[in-house]
Symmetry: C2
Subunit: 139 residues, 2 copies
């Protein structure tokens, strides 16, 4: 299977597949005589797993951890669980932050219900005046 077929089957872009290879999430495949990547079904499964993890918003690094763990079937899965737990906590944190932002925005927005002029706009006045800053989290 060449990269185009793999891309179609997985729904991932060709560049994304090459990107995962560079990031070592996917091991480098065999090459044809003309230097084309040639994949087996193992690669397909691996990519679907990666896609699944990405759909769960896991970072490349987190996925890398889980993949490494998965490669050693007799090891404990404590690390995998810790990775997932941390990820769940991260998402919860982000949701809380976004909700706080949203309520600030909504209350701000409610101060200008009819469109008026800039200089009288309640939204802009509030933007000028809000003192309490909301922390921003980068994930």
């Amino acid at each position: 299977m060449k990269i185009g077929a793999l891309s179609t089957k997985t729904g991932l872009s060709i560049q994304a597949i090459r990107f995962y290879e560079r990031k070592a999430l996917l091991s480098a495949p065999e090459r044809t005589q003309s230097n084309y990547r040639s994949y087996s079904d193992v690669a397909l499964k691996q990519l679907m797993f990666i896609k699944q993890c990405r759909a769960l918003d896991m970072t490349i690094e987190e996925i890398s951890l889980v993949l490494q763990a998965r490669a050693n079937p007799d090891n404990s899965c404590a690390e995998v669980n810790a990775t997932i737990d941390k990820h769940i906590a991260d998402i919860e944190h982000r949701v809380d932050e976004l909700k706080a932002l949203q309520s600030t925005l909504i209350s701000m927005r409610s101060s200008c219900t009819i469109d008026t002029k800039i200089k009288e706009c309640g939204v802009l006045h509030k933007l000028d005046n809000i003192v309490e800053m909301q922390a921003t989290y980068k994930k």
Copy 2:
């Protein structure tokens, strides 16, 4: 006021201030004879406004729109309101997505309550099997 003092007063890093200048959110200040940036209190207010907008998770582009609008006090504030409304909707969308992710993760995690071996780990099995993909939104 030199850039260091402005950085202290605003709580923004020096690099961030120069970054906002490059992005044209902040107009280029006067320079001293030795080419140091020299700021007035107007710049301080502008930066606090920008900081406030960033704390509300607005993008540079959104802030740029709002700043442009703000520069014309007699124009309608409809655009500002539209920007804020879209931003609120974006956040709501993201919150919904993250909640969906979280419940998937939590249900997955619950399938491996005692740490066991990788090959028996319910979390990994679920990761292998979940078919329904969750859409990811990039904001």
